[in-house]
Symmetry: C2
Subunit: 344 residues, 2 copies
DNA sequence: ATGAAAGCGCTAACAA
DNA sequence: TTGTTAGCGCTTTCAT
């Protein structure tokens, strides 16, 4: 096995307690002794066994991350935001992407109770009722990402879906469109709900009546965007513009439009949400809403680490909404936009 | 704290050893006693503390996964393959995506020595020299993914880059192209090297001389594809077809072609490698090589778990090449292809 | 400033 | 079949 504290103690001619103190900068150790121990530890390439450390100290230096299966497009970016910070602060990341058949709640609780993690970052845009319970039950610090927590009793970081949807809808309205259709996200998904709310409110504020026939449901996949478009455009009352609740559905819309020989934006304007890489490649480039995903991950773990270190009160609710930004392409009807480079 | 084995033992009126035995189905326990213990454990929602378990038993039920930063496009899929299997077999996944400033070797060794993981899946297409050392040093089972291990002394699963590149190059040759250019992947990356090798061999086999001027370097990014294309097409001797070593570079090629009013495939044919989602959306659809990424992850973890459980000899080298497949779009000049649906 | 010793929760000999 | 006990490698009182 690896060299352990006992061995270091032996070689340094001190007790294991002293080694522990020297290594943790904790308790008093004569400077000379400390140096010697550190020296020997380095020579032997000694690293304290984190498992043993966890058992005693109840610190695992591990963060649990639970992501839904829906985040495909963002998976990498979220992890990137989290992982980089974790690395800097010497933490490990334990990941669980909750596939369909998996019980997210169970995974979470297991994470929590197993003592494997010091805290959890949970992204669960589809869980509602159980969420409150979870928040109560959870013994360890937890940060919610884009989750539906109506009660204000947790720590959460959200993309400001409402604002983004509102802004982009007003942008469409600014173009003079009145019949604006929407392809919604999955039912029960709070990102989707908020985007719809922003859409509705923007119409209301501008005295445009919402027509039920112009609202079709989708599920954030390109496929559902494809069929959503067909449904919308096969009605007698066709929309002048379509707001797809995410870019992947907009991709489906483009494909359907191409099949139907309908031109974007001449025949119908299209906008999306998310600013995924692909949206830059569509012709015309998709007008969409940028969401700061890496930042979401970074903020989440930074705050979580503070909770863990008791630098903030983990029981104090705290929520932050990350602002979105409008990305203008040609799909909304704008002709004079400064297209940022298509390179990532 | 959570209820522990001692407490369960107390409530069941037995010793902790018996509880341990009953829970692990290990050693003999009277059926009645066992039932009672299990019953009480369930009532108290008792889960053995995995940390403590690890400390004693040296099984952590955790798999370490180390991915390079380059795999952006595949990140999700690889994890998906691994995570699903891990979940089924009750394992945890500890992830580390090695960002640029990070030392992949160090991360690996730390994973290994920390006792946090039972085994490691490593994807390191850029590491060469250190890899052999690592393989020697590593005390725990390790599976290599698409890594450059020339010595046949490890367990590895690789995409058959050579075969894919060879096939798609021959496909171009079949179209009658003779001046075929290539935009290469990053230097020192073995995926890139193998793809180049397949390309060269296909040309050689068909008695086509490789022209150095038609080989330009890239780094797997769209940007490098963009400039690679420009370099290739600004020469007096222009290629009739271009093989971009991955799809992202092909995306850059499309963009550059559009800017230059060069038509694909009329003016120049283009093919890629990877079959990323975006490749379906390009117009004309990109002809490319499909790589089974999810499967790569699945195979890796399945084999790793076998090594861990000693169902296979972890010291026995074992390598598997996963076959690729040709995906015909219109970019190579084919007109009569059965385009599979663009939906994922 | 340092050491001895008691755990952390569990598994695995060894005894009974 | 069951219990006792000795660790696993470490942190942390409590003495010294």
């Amino acid at each position: 096995m690896e060299v352990n504290i006992k061995e270091i103690a032996r070689r340094a001619g001190v007790s294991i307690a002293t080694v522990s103190r020297a290594l943790n900068n904790n308790g008093s150790v004569r400077e000379e002794t400390r140096r010697k121990i550190l020296q020997i530890a380095k020579e032997n390439n000694y690293k304290p066994n984190p498992i043993a450390r966890s058992l005693t100290g109840k610190k695992t230096n591990t963060i649990g991350v639970i992501l839904p299966e829906l985040v495909d497009e963002f998976f990498t970016d979220i992890i990137r935001g989290i992982d980089e910070e974790a690395y800097q602060t010497d933490h490990y990341v334990m990941i669980s992407s909750s596939h369909s058949q998996r019980n997210i709640v169970q995974t979470l609780l297991e994470f929590m109770s197993s003592g494997r993690v010091d805290g959890v970052i949970l992204m669960a845009p589809k869980i509602r009722k159980e969420l409150s319970e979870l928040i109560q039950k959870s013994k360890r610090p937890m940060v919610l990402l884009n989750s539906c927590n109506s009660n204000n009793n947790s720590v959460c970081f959200n993309i400001n879906n409402y604002q983004g949807a509102f802004t982009i809808t007003e942008h469409l309205i600014g173009h003079g469109y009145k019949n604006i259709g929407m392809i919604q996200g999955p039912e029960g998904n709070c990102d989707a709900d908020e985007r719809f709310r922003g859409f509705s409110d923007a119409l209301l504020k501008n005295n445009i009546t919402i027509q039920d026939s112009l609202i079709v449901s989708g599920d954030f996949t390109a496929k559902s965007g494809y069929y959503g478009f067909i449904r919308l455009m096969s009605q007698s009352q066709k929309p002048e513009a379509i707001f797809a609740a995410n870019d992947m559905m907009a991709v489906g819309v483009y494909e359907a439009a191409r099949s139907s020989n309908i031109n974007i934006p001449q025949d119908v304007a299209v906008v999306g949400f998310d600013n995924i890489y692909m949206s830059r490649l569509l012709t015309p480039r998709l007008t969409t809403v940028h969401v700061p995903i890496v930042e979401l991950g970074t903020k989440a773990i930074r705050y979580l680490l503070k909770m863990i270190k008791n630098e903030v009160d983990a029981n104090l609710p705290y929520c932050e909404e990350l602002s979105t930004g409008l990305v203008i392409g040609g799909s909304c009807g704008c002709t004079n936009f400064s297209a940022p480079t298509f390179f990532k």
